[in-house]
């Protein structure tokens, strides 16, 4: 199987053993009373990386961000930025800036003054502040809104002011807490690309916290999937999707069909899995699982073909009954109930505008897939 | 400002690390001051006075300035302190229990305050309910109209009722003119006048908490109840009223506690025939100049109110938790 790289082909410092880590979480634990928000977590982020922390709410991802910003101190462990231990450094002396989920725009200040706030704290000379503010306003295309107060702006404009304010100081790292959470879907998609362009043009390191996997997949160079204060997997979006490291990650990102079973017969790079009820799955991706090991076979719905007869020459084909059909416009999702009761999702792109659907509810149908279409998960 | 902070601000030789450490020390000191200043103020002007009241309530009346003896203190060392302890007496308290006047005054005050509280609730609830159901546009104005009298002087509002309630006052003129009564009603200088005065003066204190709990209530709850077959009156008692209970409790405590110790209303509207403890304390102090006895009166009054005051505080704390 080919290695799954980053979107930016020339940018992959995590594969370079000599690359110097920029941000390091070193065995960090954070407890609030009895509750452990972050549990002995280690993580490395590189310079100029667009890094996403993805997880459900309450998984500890925001706590990680707040520890980096300095609003919380780790209970144990170290956080290093560019080799410097951040312990004890208050937020107002850290070379990182944050864009808040609520934007936290100062309601009593104009857009300009909001953006200038951080620069004034540094004692920057007035003409320079004015120039930098102008530059920032231009960057986020809000030149004619300089004199407005936050409540006179729309949600999207507020978001851009917050962004301009947090990058105005040219921080080493920009932290973004659910930066697009408050925007509606259409605006969110546009803004995703704007954020990526901005990160490229400013050459900053971005650490973004999000619960929206699509957002993380679109924007990030790498994604860390966090659950219960621990890192489940750190990988590029393509790796996370196509080569999830565990059942949790496979289920968390995207849709997946999961067959639990045992390795019946394994050899290098290939195996057959006994999934019970007479179902045997042949796969070319068995990893290092030994014969007899309990594993899960995970396969994405779009990698499953559905047909009314058994396709000739198919290595893996299982019969069942069409149980549900969902027409989504760009694709159609079929739910097929296998004879053992398990339901398999299969999706088909609607490439042609008008197609005669040969399958209907309660029809017998075959689901089939290639031996390299799924992954074997041991964890 | 602390020395540390001043040093941090002025010293140019301090290294960056020193500066940040000192500045942080300064900030911690400022944080401490935020707590300490109001804390010490309240300890000195609110808590210590109660200790003094308690101490003087154990002293003897004397014709002197100040008119009591002894003054308990540590002036003569610990031995002197214990010697003084022997001179303290609970005579004032014995006196309070033996004189029917005081016992009556306490009992009457509590009863008058309780009745007035119930009356205020009965008058205030429909007003608060009507306000909470008013069109959203109108609500801020109505709210301001309820608060406005609260900003005008308590004394003036009580005074206004004298002209209305007295035998030749406006109310009697109206009743006589319309032929409702043939003889002027005697209302001023009776307990009725006190009830009217308390209900009138404390009405905003009842309406505001009631309104805020009723206004928060989701109207669809009532619709759901009706949809499930509950008639309107029953929906009120089963849904609206229980949900407004925090407001009812807060309002009742806000009226009851100060009403027990009320002075201006019984003095101006109740006349000499009515008996309430606030007035008794005032007379004991200003007319009889008996500081020890009035202190004892205050101590007992405080003991009487300590449970309602603690309930009030608990309710406040709980409301605050909910707001968070």
């Amino acid at each position: 199987m080919k290695s799954l790289g980053s979107i930016r082909r020339d940018f992959a410092p995590w594969n370079d053993p000599n690359a110097k880590p920029y941000i390091q979480f070193d065995k960090v634990t954070k407890k609030f009373g009895d509750f452990t928000a972050v549990n002995n977590l280690s993580l490395t982020i590189f310079e100029r990386e667009f890094f996403a922390l993805l997880g459900a709410s309450g998984c500890g991802k925001s706590t990680l961000l707040r520890m980096l910003a300095g609003f919380e101190e780790p209970t144990a462990g170290r956080i290093l930025l560019d080799g410097q231990d951040l312990r004890g450094i208050p937020p107002y002396r850290r070379p990182v800036n944050m864009m808040f989920q609520s934007y936290a725009l100062f309601p009593h200040m104009t857009v300009e003054n909001n953006i200038a706030f951080g620069l004034k704290q540094d004692g920057m000379p007035k003409p320079e502040i004015a120039a930098r503010v102008g530059e920032m306003l231009k960057l986020v295309k809000l030149e004619q809104f300089a004199k407005r107060k936050p409540h006179q702006l729309s949600g999207g404009q507020r978001q851009r002011v917050a962004l301009a304010r947090s990058v105005a100081k040219r921080p080493k790292v920009l932290l973004l807490d659910e930066p697009l959470g408050a925007l509606d879907k259409k605006l969110r998609e546009e803004t995703q690309f704007e954020l990526m362009d901005l990160q490229q043009s400013l050459g900053l390191t971005f650490v973004v916290v999000t619960h929206d996997q699509e957002e993380a997949m679109t924007m990030a160079d790498r994604i860390a999937i966090i659950d219960k204060g621990e890192v489940m997997q750190v990988a590029t979006p393509a790796e996370v999707y196509e080569a999830p490291g565990s059942r949790f990650v496979a289920g968390f990102v995207g849709n997946v069909n999961m067959f639990e079973g045992k390795i019946a017969h394994g050899e290098a790079g290939a195996a057959s899995i006994d999934a019970g009820n007479g179902i045997t799955i042949r796969t070319e991706h068995a990893g290092d699982a030994a014969t007899g090991a309990a594993v899960a076979f995970a396969i994405r719905p779009e990698k499953i073909r559905i047909s009314s007869t058994r396709p000739a020459g198919a290595v893996n084909a299982i019969e069942g009954e069409v149980y549900d059909i969902a027409y989504l416009g760009d694709m159609t999702v079929y739910h097929v109930r296998l004879d053992d009761g398990q339901v398999v999702r299969a999706s088909t792109m609607n490439a042609a505008r008008i197609t005669e659907d040969p399958l209907s509810w309660n029809d017998r149908a075959w689901v089939s897939f290639r031996p390299d279409a799924g992954v074997v998960l041991t964890r | 400002m602390s020395n540390a902070a001043v040093t941090a601000a002025t010293s140019s030789r301090a290294t960056a690390a020193d500066k940040s450490a000192l500045a942080r020390l300064g900030e911690a000191f400022v944080g401490r001051l935020v707590i300490l200043i109001p804390y010490l103020w309240l300890v000195f002007f609110f808590l210590v006075p109660f200790v003094i009241v308690f101490k003087i309530s154990l002293s003897q009346t004397a014709i002197a300035i100040p008119p009591y003896t002894p003054v308990l203190g540590f002036g003569d060392g610990l031995a002197g302190f214990f010697a003084q302890l022997n001179e303290l007496s609970i005579d004032n308290y014995t006196w309070l229990t033996q004189d029917a006047l005081y016992v009556n005054a306490y009992v009457t005050s509590v009863i008058v305050a309780a009745i007035s509280t119930v009356l205020t609730l009965l008058v205030g609830y429909p007003i608060a309910y009507g306000m909470a159901r008013a069109p959203a546009m109108l609500r801020p104005t109505l709210l301001m109209l309820v608060i406005l009298p609260f900003w005008t002087s308590f004394l003036i509002r009580v005074y206004a009722w004298i002209g209305i309630l007295k035998p030749e006052g406006l109310l009697n003129q109206l009743l006589l003119a319309t032929g409702v009564v043939s003889q002027p009603l005697i209302i001023l200088n009776t307990y009725t006048a006190i009830f009217i005065g308390i209900v009138y003066s404390y009405l905003p204190f009842m309406v505001l908490p009631l309104y805020s709990s009723l206004e928060k209530m989701d109207y669809s709850l009532i619709e759901a109840a009706k949809d499930l077959g509950c008639p309107p009156t029953s929906a009120f008692w089963k849904i609206t009223f229980p949900l407004s209970l925090p407001g009812v409790i807060a309002g009742c405590l806000l009226v009851f506690i100060p009403a027990v110790g009320e002075f201006v209303i019984p003095d101006l509207l109740g006349g000499s025939q009515t008996l309430m403890i606030g007035k008794t304390l005032w007379n004991e102090f200003f007319a009889n100049r008996d500081w020890p006895v009035s202190s004892a009166v205050a101590v007992i009054l405080l003991l009487l109110l300590i449970v309602p005051i603690m309930l009030f505080q608990r309710a406040q704390a709980r409301a605050q938790e909910q707001d968070k």
């Binding site: 609003f71 944050m98 704290q121 947090s166 | 309240l42 002007f45 109660f50 009507g130 900003w151 505080q313």
Partner: protein, 272 residues
Amino acid sequence: MNPTWSRFNITSIVLGFAFLYLPIVLLVVFSFNESKLVTVWGGFSTKWYVSLFHNQGLMDATWVTARVAVISATVATLLGTLAALTLTRYTRFKGRTLFSGMVFAPLVMPEVITGLSLLLLFVAVGLDRGFVTVTLAHITLTMCFVAVVVQSRLITFDRSLEEAAMDLGAPPVKTFFQITLPVIMPAIVSGWMLAFTLSLDDLVIASFTSGPGATTLPMKIYSQVRLGVTPEINAACTILIAVVAVGVIIASLANKRREVQRQRDEQAAQRG
């Protein structure tokens, strides 16, 4: 929007407000009465207002009251704001329960007790009763009201504003003065106004803690009221009511205008 603003609701509001305002209206009306008999209408006149301004005792008391109110409201606003900050920001320190008790108790404490205890304190420390003692007493009482007003604003204050300021390089004290204080300023102003009017209106605590030469207006009015209802007192009361009412109405109208403007701005912003 309001399916049940019934006739019953409207009636109870109308009757309630009539009850609240009628006595005050009558008091004001009879301050313009020609007759010395307060309750018998004898024609329109402003003579009681004229005689008011020639009453030196009343004018002196007014001056004392105004000074006490301004000074005590200002100090109380400072202390009350600190107390509110303590209550909302420092959730764990020794004696917090006692502290919140001392803030909330004066709100409901019968005034006779507060007045008596403060007087005994002043006697114990040998402070002569007068202007200073009344002011100290009023600060103590009104700071608790300020604390409650400011505290309720601080509870809903978005802490991420402060975090944002610190994140942008402002140390805590600077953050407080540049961000927190301006944002909660409206609450602090209404706290001051409340403290001012409470001080202006107080009779009981002032009677206990004041001494010769520091008679406040309510004390003066009270001593005359005890002698009977006179049109001159009605006139004095009317002026007091007018001052407070005008102040409150102006403040709330300004508030409302700001609010309306804000809503209009927000709608405009949403449209584009």
